[in-house]
């Protein structure tokens, strides 16, 4: 019914949309999400035929190309067949006219019925959006923001359009009003094609079935809204979701590094992407269907960085790990939780090659790791539990940070010094000579852990395995170290395997969570899902204990640990 084909829009030299394709039928609801400046509103306006810009491609509505029909026909279609709810509530209404009259005008333009009929229709329409009595005769400034939004929605619905474009319909509304408007919109969207333009992912999830993520004028990912929110495939989509303060996300907010730039060669997102490869800078990826989702990415969406397949390890006759499968995606934090003795540390040491596995394999960036050499260790690094033990007491700060570079024989001494200072800068430590000459016992626990992190970062790894990195630190230092790690993840796109027994801590840092019990992984899902709805009884017990409800559940069946261990 509504087809957008290779839509390109530019204002002067600035290309805003670079080839958008959409196919929508009656009943389809789609949200267009992205940062400001991505071209969301331009897309809405272009579908309305309102863009004052040079346009190429086509927008077909009922078979007619909107860019080719004469302006008069287009005008008769606007409002009647295609209506838009504009972004700015303040400006969309005429301040000098009563709202009732403005609705009546909208109806009158497209329908040649008598004034009285039009008046009645307007009243009914306003009533249907919840504006009644005196309010209907009020001037816009006499109405609250929510009421004005209702009036605007009524106006858009005035002629029962087939296509409804909603541009940020609930921005600037408080939560309660927003909920009201949402209900109203849901009923208004029935039986139409609706395009919801928003940066509010919660709104998109509540209103639409499909979602398209727009970045610098291109759609980078498109698919079913619920699935995309749960499991983003494009790094940009994940970035958007991570930076959105939803009620279900438990992790701290993380931003996307850099800012959006239009007109970049290659993949539009490559400058901010943490998994870019050479081709990303030269060629623009096309939208391709990958497992029921359209993704524009040379690497096929977020790539698995580390895969562990069937890893087993036993010490003498005691099975510590049996048949572990684990996938860690690029740039994400996977928390490995479980009580002590569940094999968490053994698993991380096996990955690092500190132990030899009995069977199974470790796959790094789609290549099986046979022998751990310099190139492996420059991509994967580890932070240990006790910083004062992981940094030799015979090395001062400088020697400690230089050590990995010395081992890797990287560059001259001067180059190594520069890299070491950079690494110390990254972890927010001073690089004064005085500080560089200090020994671990002259530093606080938090400082030594920072030195340990700087050592790991000096090689520029893609994956950081953090084995209880904060358990030896007090809460305030712990918070600082965690903030630092998350900040580094933002900046460098580090993937992290966060090993901890503290589920409350894991909740704040991880995208996904793997729960270990007796050397097996019993559950791996998104952190918020694991926490809100633990599937495994052991996980439920862990969550209940962590949330401080252990006293209450003492008597419950769940707590019979013996059952779990038998």
């Amino acid at each position: 019914m509504l087809q957008v084909r290779d839509l390109k829009v530019s204002f002067g030299k600035a290309e805003i949309l670079r080839g958008i394709n959409l196919d929508l039928e009656i009943g389809d609801t789609i949200s267009i999400v992205g940062e400001s400046g991505a071209g969301k509103t331009t897309l809405g306006l272009s579908v309305m035929g309102l863009g004052e810009a040079s346009v190429s491609g086509e927008v077909r509505f009922r078979g007619k190309d909107l860019f080719k029909v004469p302006e008069d026909d287009l005008r008769s279609m606007r409002g009647k067949d295609i209506a838009m709810v504009f972004q700015n509530v303040e400006d969309a209404l005429d301040p000098l006219q009563r709202v009732h009259d403005q609705i009546a005008e909208a109806i009158h333009i497209h329908q040649s019925s008598s004034t009285k009929d039009v008046q009645t229709a307007a009243k009914k329409l306003l009533l249907s959006v919840g504006i009644k009595g005196d309010k209907a005769r009020a001037y816009p400034h006499q109405l609250s923001g929510g009421e004005r939004q209702r009036v605007i929605i009524a106006m858009a619905l005035a002629n029962d359009p087939d296509v409804l474009i909603l541009d940020e319909p609930t921005a600037s509304l408080d939560a309660l009003t927003k909920a009201d408007i949402l209900r109203l919109l849901r009923s208004a969207m029935v039986g139409r094609i609706s395009l919801v333009i928003t940066h509010d992912i919660a709104l998109a999830a509540a209103l639409t079935e499909q979602m398209a993520v727009l970045y610098a004028g291109r759609i980078v990912e498109m698919g079913r809204t619920a699935e995309m929110v749960r499991n983003a495939r494009h790094p940009y989509t994940r970035g958007l979701i991570r930076s959105f303060p939803g009620m279900t996300t438990t992790q701290d907010l993380q931003s996307i590094p850099g800012r959006m730039a239009h007109g970049l060669g290659g993949c539009p997102f490559h400058e901010r992407c943490t998994q870019r490869i050479d081709i990303c800078c030269h060629e623009t990826p096309t939208l391709q269907e990958i497992e029921g989702r359209l993704v524009a990415c040379h690497r096929g969406g977020i790539v698995p960085l580390l895969e562990v397949r069937g890893l087993s390890k036993s010490f003498d006759s005691c099975d510590v790990l049996s048949d572990i499968d684990l996938t860690l995606y690029e740039g994400e934090t996977l928390a490995l939780v479980g009580e002590s003795g569940s094999g968490k540390s053994t698993l991380s040491k096996l990955i690092m090659g500190l132990y030899e596995p009995d069977s199974g394999e470790v796959i790094l960036e789609k290549q099986k790791v046979h022998r751990r050499d310099i190139s492996f260790y420059s991509r994967v690094q580890m932070i240990f539990q006790n910083p004062k033990e992981s940094v030799s007491h015979r090395m001062n700060v400088l020697d400690a940070v230089l050590e990995p570079l010395v081992v890797h024989k990287k560059g001259t001494r001067e180059e190594r010094l520069i890299r070491a200072r950079k690494a110390l800068d990254l972890v927010e430590l001073p690089t004064t000579d005085d500080f560089l000459e200090r020994y671990p016992h002259q530093l606080s626990g938090g400082e030594v852990q920072r030195v340990a992190i700087a050592r790991a970062l000096a090689l520029g790894p893609k994956l950081l395995i953090a084995d209880e990195p904060t358990s030896a630190l007090d809460p305030s230092v712990q918070a600082k170290i965690l903030k630092l790690l998350m900040g580094l993840q933002d900046k460098m796109g580090l993937a992290m395997l966060f090993v901890t027994h503290d589920i409350a801590l894991a909740r704040k840092v991880s995208d996904r969570m793997a729960v270990m019990l007796k050397g097996q992984i019993v559950e791996t899902r998104a952190t918020n899902e694991v926490l809100s709805n633990p599937e495994n009884p052991y996980t439920r017990k862990l969550v209940d204990c962590a949330s401080g409800r252990s006293e209450q559940i003492n008597n419950l069946e769940i707590f019979k640990a013996a059952d779990l261990w038998s």
Binding site: S390, H408, A452
Partner: protein, 289 residues
């Protein structure tokens, strides 16, 4: 945790007195030709002369100057001590550390070899070997080293076994470091106090053994040795000469041994309490003394 027992030695009276005595004997040994009036092998013209301005401790049965022989005897003692300490501890560190790091068959072989070596009564073997080969100083040094490294190797191995499980070693391994780097940067520095202790212990035993073997007559007849001097002096106890012959020599030997013992004891106390188990092991192979 930043403990450097070697630095602590400078603040310990026992260690300081040990070092001063040792330095004095060292001084005597180094400047022996200047301190003595005449060569130790020259015939002075009279035998059994009492102490005089020319001959501080008189002369012996061969008419040689005792003071001069005492000074040159210190050279032999210290030479043997230093050489054995370095040779045998180098062997101890190499075998002990490589066994701990490599493990497997290699480790089992060397540790059984160590057990075997320790169970052999070294004095008898040395007397036998010296009887078949012509006794000489280099041979003595090699024999003494051959019989003293196993104890040290065992101590070093146990210490390296514990050191290599330290987190900072794991951390170095996660940088991709090979065993050479770990040995040089992580293990040897932490072993330094222990190696020093082993060296001092082996030096002390070497001094004692050298004197003892010389006393028994198992030594190069041309080498001046305190042990041999004492044995010769003992033959003339019916004359009064032994006062100037036997006593100063015995005193010099005791002083050397005592100073080394002082250093040993002081180092033990200074070392990390966690390394104190070393002392238990160290006491065991003392049966050779």
């Amino acid at each position: 945790m930043h403990i450097d027992p070697l630095r602590d030695l400078l603040h310990d009276r026992l260690a300081l007195s040990g070092m001063i005595i040792l330095a004095l004997i060292g001084f005597m040994a180094i400047f022996a030709p200047l301190l003595s009036g005449c060569s130790p092998d020259d015939y002075t013209g009279q035998i059994f002369s009492p102490p005089s301005a020319d001959h501080l401790l008189g002369t012996d049965s061969m008419g040689q100057d005792i003071w001069s022989r005492l000074l040159f005897g210190a050279r032999t003692s210290l030479l043997v001590a230093t050489a054995v300490a370095f040779l045998s501890s180098a062997f101890s560190v190499f075998i002990g550390a490589s066994s701990a790091l490599m493990g497997g068959l290699y480790e089992r072989f060397w540790m059984r070899a160590v057990d075997a070596m320790i169970s052999i009564p070294s004095i008898i073997v040395m007397i036998l070997v010296a009887a078949y080969l012509r006794p000489s100083l280099p041979l003595l040094i090699i024999l003494l080293s051959a019989f003293s490294w196993p104890g040290g190797a065992r101590i070093i191995r146990s210490q390296v076994l514990s050191l290599k499980e330290r987190t900072h070693v794991s951390a170095a391994r996660t940088f991709g470091a090979g065993w050479d780097h770990i040995l040089m940067h992580h293990i040897i520095p932490d072993l330094a106090p222990l190696i020093t202790a082993i060296m001092i212990q082996e030096a002390r035993r070497a001094v004692f053994m050298e004197a003892g073997l010389a006393f028994l007559g198992v030594s190069d007849p041309l080498v001046i040795s305190w042990g041999k001097m004492m044995q010769q002096a003992l033959a003339f106890t019916y004359l009064n000469v032994w006062e100037w012959w036997l006593l100063p020599t015995g005193f010099a030997l005791s002083l050397t041994l005592v100073s080394l013992s002082f250093l040993e004891i002081s180092l033990e106390t200074a070392m990390d309490p966690r390394l104190r188990k070393v002392r238990l092991i160290k006491d065991r192979p003392r049966r050779a003394d």
